[in-house]
């Protein structure tokens, strides 16, 4: 009898970048429960 084991996939969301619908760059899980909007200057 073959026993199936659940495979837990771990994703490193730091490797995922994209743009929001309104064109802002984001990093991480696009469906994350928390959205942190960072307003900053590079200088």
């Amino acid at each position: 009898m073959v026993t199936e084991e659940a495979v837990v996939e771990t994703v490193d969301w730091l490797t995922n970048e994209g743009q929001t619908e309104d064109g802002f760059a984001f990093l991480g899980n696009p469906d994350a429960p928390i959205v942190l909007q960072d307003y900053s200057d590079f200088l």
Binding site: L27, N29, I34, V35, L36, Q37, Y39, S40, F42, L43
Partner: protein
């Protein structure tokens, strides 16, 4: 955001609990305008965040002189396609976009650098990691 960002990324972004969205503030004239366009140009090569991290780490290099030449150097050192990046920056391809994004944050009353909006809760000015933890942890248990 600079000092606490690595901790926030390691604890919450890496695990998929937080999506980090970047909103430009153009407080230093043309130097800001060029730097934020450089990040957008890097984004065309899926390198927005590596450029973002580098520009914060090398802030001092962005002051003085022609910022475009410095930004092109950073792009090359990040391993970007220099011809594509340089063309993007020379064309000022994202001038309108970053200016509009900066205008938007003014319209919604964001004045302080940095300001973090976490699901509608504002954390204003440089803060230690526990200040972010205090906002994020309760949201994760809701």
């Amino acid at each position: 955001m600079l000092g606490t960002e690595p901790e926030i990324k390691a604890r919450y972004v890496k695990t998929g609990q937080v999506k980090l969205v970047f909103n430009p503030i153009l407080d230093h004239g043309d130097h800001s305008v060029q730097a934020h366009q450089a990040a957008e140009c890097a984004g065309e090569q899926s390198m927005f965040w590596p450029m973002h991290d580098r520009l914060f780490a090398e802030q001092g290099s962005l002051f003085g002189g022609d910022p475009r030449e410095v930004l092109k150097m950073h792009a090359a050192e990040l391993g970007l396609d220099s011809a594509a990046f340089n063309a993007c920056l020379d064309e000022q391809r994202y001038l309108e976009k970053v200016t509009a994004q900066d205008n938007y944050r003014r319209e919604i009353g964001i004045r302080t650098r940095p300001t973090l909006d976490i699901n509608g809760q504002l954390v204003v000015g440089p803060q230690p990691f526990p200040a972010f933890e205090a906002v994020i942890e309760p949201l994760l248990t809701q």
